[in-house]
């Protein structure tokens, strides 16, 4: 039982507590936070290395045997997600320490707590503990969202918090029903028990499962539960929005995790229960996202809707729940997290260089660093809208390929491709407006705060990430295939968590 598994959760938590005690010295705080993020990134690499050795590892907190205590479970999926959050958060941290962190109180502790929540959600193997980490993640995100204040953020924040509070309530209802029927909270244990639920309890189990699905769908911004996203992310401070790029993925992760492990093939009365709901919703999400991209008049709104759109793509792939489509979904997850983060950072970099025009899609005089920023934006737009050669194209290709055997392939392909076109239109208009039309505008922008090229580095790193993701698509996909394989054969997960208990259960099944 390697203690590394708990590191991605504890490290940021302790760092945050320490940062609270250091609140009087902002510089020291910054350094500690940066160091903690770097350490977190390293530890997530270590954790990743552990996972790709192939075995599912479980970590029994408090040394209590599963399912009675809480376990953390490290498999390829959780390790990948943790690594992803490590990479994203490092870039975001680098962006934030260029000034954003001073715009309000407690940026760094909140940031670290946020990371704790995200990693906790990825690693936990317990449904209720997942709820707790959702809450940690959410409340930290509320704090971060409001960082810096302003009426817009307050209004958006209220809606974001209110809708998510409803989500949290629903989570508890769902967990309650599932516990009430199965008597357990451990996911692996649940996986074993749902298939044995009495016929008379099937309706309850199914209700619980679907309510749980809705909770995750809310986090994943699946239409019609997506309302909070465009408003909240657009109002959020840029580095926070960039970090949020992975928050929607937590919802997607939870859907993938729970609805393959517990309510997957061996889900008994609730086997694959989410699938028929995900697909139409995901297609609608694609449509709404793309329409939103087309309609946006502010860059950050456009990016928000693009994120909604990308969630639709991702969930379309998830909806089939087979190894191939899950592989595609996972690849798309990596891609859309990196590129979502990059675009939010870019929109901030652009906004802060354009004076009163900020990121409104209106022509302004040429901004500082226009050439490099324009190049980065071009690449990011290519990646997001799924044009080659960056990872968006590969992801789209994989999704189309993985879904072609589906009964709904016609729908999926039509919607994916049609909405891709809308997104291309939206991004091309935004890009030409910001970087081309500005060259036709006379006058100069009031000298902005020193616009250093170095400030573009974090965004550039994320874009480079999408390039590497594309270039290394082969090996990455091999890893993701193995990940998906682990997901569709939950036995290894159950065995790793329950150990001898699973053996015993299997014995009774045979009898």
């Amino acid at each position: 039982m390697s203690s590394w598994i708990v590191a991605p959760i504890i490290l940021p938590a302790m760092a945050a507590a320490l940062l609270l005690l250091l609140r009087r010295s902002p510089n020291l705080q910054r350094q500690v936070s940066l160091a903690a993020t770097a350490l977190l990134c390293l530890s997530s690499i270590r954790v990743f290395m552990l996972a790709i050795e192939g075995d599912v590892l479980s970590y029994r907190l408090g040394d209590w045997p599963a399912p009675f205590g809480i376990v953390l479970v490290l498999d390829r999926l959780s390790a990948t997600m943790v690594l992803l959050s490590g990479v994203l958060s490092s870039a975001v941290m680098l962006h934030a320490i260029r000034g954003w962190d001073e715009k309000g109180h407690h940026f760094h502790p909140l940031f670290q707590f946020q990371l704790m929540g995200i990693n906790g959600a990825f690693l936990t193997g317990d449904v209720f503990n997942l709820f707790v980490f959702f809450e940690v993640m959410l409340i930290a995100s509320y704090g971060l969202l409001l960082h810096g204040g302003g009426p817009r953020r307050l209004g958006a924040g209220f809606q974001y918090v209110a809708i998510n509070l409803l989500g949290s309530t629903l989570f508890l209802f769902a967990v309650g029903i599932i516990y009430g029927v199965t008597g357990t909270l451990n996911m692996a244990d649940l996986a074993g028990k749902v298939s044995q639920v009495a016929a008379g309890d099937a309706a309850l189990l199914r209700t619980g499962a679907l309510l749980l699905f809705l909770v995750f769908a809310l986090k994943a911004a699946l239409v019609p539960l997506h309302w909070w996203l465009p408003t909240a992310y657009a109002a959020a401070p840029a580095p926070v929005a960039a970090l949020f790029a992975i928050m929607t993925k937590v919802g997607a992760y939870a859907i993938i995790r729970v609805f393959t492990l517990v309510f997957g093939a061996e889900g008994g009365a609730a086997a694959f229960i989410a699938a028929p709901w995900i697909l139409p919703a995901a297609l609608t999400t694609l449509a709404i996202g793309a329409i939103g991209v087309l309609a946006s008049r502010v860059l950050v709104d456009l990016v928000c809707f693009a994120v909604v759109w990308s969630m639709g793509s991702l969930l379309v792939a998830v909806s089939l729940f087979d190894a191939r489509s899950l592989t595609a979904a996972l690849y798309y997850t990596l891609h859309s997290t990196l590129i979502g983060g990059a675009l939010f950072l870019l929109s901030d970099l652009i906004a802060c260089r354009r004076g009163r025009w900020r990121d409104d899609l209106e022509p302004s005089p040429v901004m500082a660093n226009a050439a490099i920023l324009g190049g980065l934006f071009f690449l990011a737009a290519i990646a997001m809208s799924g044009l080659p050669p960056l990872s968006g194209f590969i992801g789209k290709l994989m999704i189309l390929d993985a879904t072609r055997g589906s009964d709904s392939a016609g729908w999926i392909w039509s919607v994916v491709l049609a909405t891709s076109l809308l997104v291309i239109i939206g991004f091309s208009r935004a890009g030409t407006m910001l970087f081309w039309k500005s060259e036709a505008v006379a006058g100069t922008l009031a000298p902005p705060a020193p616009a250093r090229v170095a400030s573009l580095a974090p965004a550039a790193v994320l874009i480079l990430g999408t390039a590497l993701l594309s270039l290394g698509a082969g090996p990455v996909t091999r890893h993701l295939e193995a990940t998906a394989q682990q997901l569709v054969t939950p036995r290894s997960y159950m065995d790793a968590v329950l150990g001898g208990l699973a053996e015993a259960q299997r014995a009774t099944e045979v009898r």
């Binding site: 408090g62 209220f158 199965t182 244990d189 539960l225 309302w227 290709l397 072609r404 208009r429 081309w436």
Partner: protein, 969 residues
């Protein structure tokens, strides 16, 4: 990255064909600092290098071999970097690179000093690499990659002059149409791969029969053609090409005549063995081509801008090529290949000539030109030759391929009618003659004018030499077709038809008096006649309504954008009630569906008997809930009712054996009440009724249905038996966790990780609240606060009796807190409740004696408490790592001390202490922040505590108030 080379005909070099220009794209921007010529050289070198690679592969290709290399990319999904060269690929690659080199030279002289040349060459090289990639891809998915890259790079090139609105619009339009087509192509090729069982062209082309027999053939064909037609500007997608002419002329010459627009034609040629030869193919492709040919030519005839004429003529010629490929016969394929070659030469030459005219005369409007032959004889001559070829004049290469085309058409019935195609093709040729002649005459012939914007003369050799280089083959092929073009056409056509034998044909100037020659003659005469009647014809055209595709496109796009905006505005109203309603309805619907689709049996668990107090509590909860729905506009009353519900719920917890819960609920309740009261003081006191009764009824229905569902679920679960894992917790609590209060042991031990997360939630809430309220209220907010209705206010802020009693209560409450904390592991209580008790006691102080007075006396800053709390809980958990046990592993033991006796020490207690501090810190920090809002806005001075009544005769100055009514002082 592991590399797997195909074992067939491995040739490393051809892999570089697309990559070389792509990677080299970074050099021109770097080289521009060393001068424009060096910049051009930086662009030319990779092009030349690629040409050399191609030349090296030529012998093999012309031996009929296929040169191939494969590099793994995404094997799991069929995407590989596999490249192959056969006759067709070679032909196109050579054309792309060759004309590319000329364009690079031409651009060096064409671009002005102000144009950022480095960027231009970078884009050009990107395009060149992508285009070469399209034609040498073996893997069809790789081809899509390059295909879309050509769209992207052409987007950059068309928009090169960024300040030009036409450039931006043209670029976007091109991207939308060709990029959109690329999406169709992607879908089509994915389908094709699925049908053929491979994504490698070399495999696919072998399986034409399988493909054509597949039920997916037609949809696949439509998708692929969608890609091809958009790229090659076929009707009705032809409109983007003329607008792409906003690009610098070299770009138009290169992309929009010689190369990119041919990509669609290339694709049809490339897939010819797999797709062509079916009825569907013929009907769709040939007719689309024919219509495009006519439409393009017709529009070209009436354009006055040189480049526009050329653009529409290109559309027309692309139609011609498409039509030829659509015929589906090998001979037509030969002709198509031949015409592609010819068109590339004369059209690129014409574009460059147009550029020269523009450059020299300062306009491209043929109404302002004429007589240039006298002023710039060299370039005019070159242009006239090229124009002649375009018109199909004998002795030039355009004539040959046009003749061969007409010859093919003569034998082609369309849908059973033998006349349609020949007639339409003749009309096309006629129009072609007409616009070519018009262009030549109006630009170059006639008298010299006095009113050119600039005075034209022949340009530097760098500009006209590339034109000359292209005009050479125009004439050479025209005169000696078999010698010059024969091998190329044959090798290329062989590749197109893939394995089939080519029919016997010969490329020659004179074929005798064939029907085709007759049609040509008709075309020339008709063309001349048309020019004579140009003016009345133009008037007629202007008088009739025209459907302009660009306007339609703009309308559609504007409509879509407008619709999108309207839709988003209608959906995303940012109205929380609407969002909530949608979400609640969604939850109800999905939850109900889940229940209805599963089998359900009523539970068999015995019900508990109802007793009187329970009924009272139940009735209270019900009545209060209903009352709140009606009375909620009165906010203070709502608060009181809410407290009542909290009270009822905690009694219910007591009734049903959950003392810990009752304690927690009731203490949280009071903190919430205080919090809400603090907030309510600064919020409106009432909620106005803003909804009509229909809306309220509707909301009531939603709420009732959802509530009913939840009640049903609760009832269903409660009335059935189950076997929870908590049997284990009950059994292990004492022996394993060292405590008899199982709930507490679960909280600090079995599920201590939950609790760890929970205190962090609290901590974050406090931090967020602190951050939210700590910034001072400025501007409007401060004014609003100051003007807030101040109701009647009592004179004493700190009533004496309250001050004294709370003073006594504080140590008592702390004693109780200590008690609840210490016994929590075994009896109801624990760190959380203890923390709340202590926090409430301190709040009581603050209520009685004032915030500042209380805060000043607090030994530990609330922030520090929070930090320490989390740190302590975390460190306790980490402590177990030192002993090689997992995080949060607890330990306990019994310590025996003299006098005091035996007592238990558990590590869980240290953890619980962390919880305690976190709770106290949270409550104090957050409530204090709200309490201080008013003070921050300086709405009124803070009364100095602790009591407002100054008692005379008292010597105790410290504790007694310093002023009676601080407001006035």
């Amino acid at each position: 990255m592991p590399t797997v080379w195909s074992n067939r005909n491995v040739t490393l070099n051809i892999v570089l064909l697309p990559i070389l220009p792509l990677l080299a794209a970074i050099f021109p921007p770097l080289a521009i600092r060393s001068g424009r010529t060096l910049c051009a050289v930086a662009a030319a070198v990779p092009t030349v290098a690629a040409l050399l690679i191609l030349a090296a592969a030529a012998p093999a290709v012309y031996r009929g071999e296929i040169v191939q290399a494969t590099y793994e990319w995404l094997p799991q999904f069929g995407l590989s970097y596999s490249i192959f060269l056969d006759g067709l690929g070679f032909f196109f690659a050579a054309m792309i690179l060759g004309i590319g080199l000329l364009i690079i030279i031409y651009s060096r002289f064409y671009l002005s000093q102000d144009d950022p040349m480095g960027r231009f060459y970078a884009y050009l090289l990107l395009f060149q690499g992508a285009m070469v990639g399209v034609v040498v891809s073996d893997n069809i998915l790789l081809m899509v990659v390059f295909w879309e890259l050509t769209s992207l790079s052409s987007f950059l090139l068309i928009g090169y002059w960024r300040a030009l609105p036409e450039g931006r619009q043209g670029a976007r339009m091109a991207l939308v149409v060709t990029g959109g087509g690329g999406l169709l192509l992607l879908a089509g090729l994915l389908l094709l791969g699925q049908i053929a069982g491979s994504y490698e062209l070399t495999e696919i082309l072998q399986r034409g029969d399988v493909i054509k027999a597949s039920p997916l053939y037609l949809p696949m064909l439509l998708l692929v053609l969608g890609g091809a037609f958009t790229k090659s500007a076929q009707f009705p997608f032809h409109f983007w090409l003329p607008h792409a002419m906003a690009a610098p002329t070299p770009v138009s010459a290169y992309l929009h005549s010689a190369t990119m627009v041919k990509a669609g034609v290339f694709l049809m040629a490339r897939l010819w063995p797999a797709l062509a030869g079916t009825e569907a193919w013929f009907l769709i492709v040939s007719m689309t081509g024919l219509i495009t040919m006519l439409v393009g030519a017709w529009i070209a005839l009436f354009k006055d801008d040189l480049k526009a004429i050329l653009a529409y003529s290109t559309v027309s010629h692309l139609g011609l090529m498409t039509m030829l490929l659509g015929l589906g016969t090998p001979m037509a394929a030969v002709v198509a290949v031949f015409h592609i070659l010819n068109h590339a030469t004369f059209k690129a030459a014409l574009f460059m000539s147009a550029g020269i005219v523009d450059h020299e005369a300062g306009t491209r409007d043929i109404r302002r030109l004429g007589g240039l032959l006298h002023l710039m004889p060299i370039s005019a001559t070159l242009a006239l030759v090229a124009a002649g070829s375009m018109a199909g004049l004998p002795l030039l290469n355009g004539f040959l391929s046009k003749e061969m085309m007409l010859e093919e058409i003569v034998h082609t019935p369309y849908a059973g009618n033998p006349w349609i195609m020949p007639i339409l093709a003749t009309v096309g040729a006629l129009l072609s003659v007409a616009y070519s002649a018009r262009l030549a005459i109006k630009t170059y012939l006639g008298p010299v004018r006095a009113d050119y914007p600039h005075h034209p003369h022949d340009p530097p050799v760098g500009l006209w030499l590339p034109v000359a280089v292209l005009v050479v083959p125009v004439i050479a092929i025209g005169l000696l077709p078999a010698l010059i073009a024969g091998p190329v056409v044959e090798r290329t056509a062989l590749a197109v038809v893939g394995g089939q034998a080519l029919p016997s044909y010969y490329l020659a100037l004179w074929h005798g008096f064939t029907p085709a020659l007759m049609m040509s003659a008709v075309a020339f005469i008709g063309g001349a006649a048309l020019l004579m009647a140009f003016k009345p014809l133009d008037r007629l055209r202007l008088a009739t309504p025209r459907l302009e595709a660009k306007r339609v496109f703009d309308r559609v796009l504007d409509g879509a954008t407008g619709g999108a905006k309207a839709l988003v505005a209608a959906l995303h109203t940012e109205s929380l009630p609407r969002y909530f309603a949608t979400i609640v309805v969604a939850i109800t619907v999905v939850g109900t569906a889940g229940f209805m689709t599963g089998s359900h049996a009523a539970g068999t668990r015995a019900h508990l008997p109802v007793n009187g107090p329970a009924l009272v509590i139940w009735a209270t909860l019900l009545a209060t809930s209903l009352a709140v729905m009606v009375l909620h506009p009165n906010r203070l009353l709502t608060l009181i009712l809410t407290s009542l519900v909290g009270l009822g719920v905690s009694i219910a917890f007591i009734q049903f054996s959950a003392p810990d819960l009752a304690l927690t609920q009731i203490s949280v309740e009071v903190v919430m009440t205080i919090l809400l009261l603090l907030a309510l003081n600064l919020l409106p006191r009432t909620t106005p009724r803003e909804t009509g009764w229909i809306r309220r009824m509707w909301d009531g229905v939603i709420a009732s249905v959802a509530g009913f569902g939840l009640a049903g679920l609760a009832y269903a679960v409660m009335t059935r038996d189950f076997q929870p894992i908590s049997e284990y917790h009950l059994a292990q609590s004492k022996p394993g966790g060292g405590g008899t209060n199982v709930v507490n042991v679960i909280l600090v031990d079995f599920r201590g990780f939950d609790t760890f997360g929970e205190i962090i939630v609290l901590c974050i809430a406090a931090l967020a609240i602190y951050a939210l309220l700590d910034s001072s209220l400025k501007g409007a907010a401060a004014r609003r606060l100051a003007s807030m209705r101040q109701g009647e206010e009592a004179a004493d802020a700190h009533p004496l009796m309250l001050v004294v009693v709370t003073r006594v209560l504080l140590p008592l409450a702390m004693t109780v807190g200590a008690f609840i904390f210490l016994r929590g592991h075994n009896q109801p209580g624990g760190g959380f409740i203890a923390g709340l008790v202590v926090a409430i006691a301190l709040l009581m102080q603050a209520m009685a004696s004032g915030y500042i007075w209380t805060a000043e006396r607090l030994r530990l800053n609330a922030h520090t408490m929070l930090g320490l709390g989390v740190l302590l809980a975390g460190l306790t958990g980490l402590g177990s790592l030192l002993f090689g046990r997992p995080f949060l592993t607890s330990t306990f033991g019994y310590v025996h001390l003299p006098v005091i006796g035996e007592f238990e020490l558990a590590s869980a207690m240290a953890f619980d202490t962390g919880v305690f501090f976190a709770v106290v810190g949270t409550v104090l920090l957050s409530l204090a922040q709200i309490a201080r809002v008013e003070a921050r806005a300086e709405r009124k001075p803070v009364p100095q505590g602790p009591s407002d009544i100054r008692l005379v005769g008292s010597a105790r100055a410290v504790s007694q108030p310093t002023i009676a009514h601080s407001k006035e002082s």
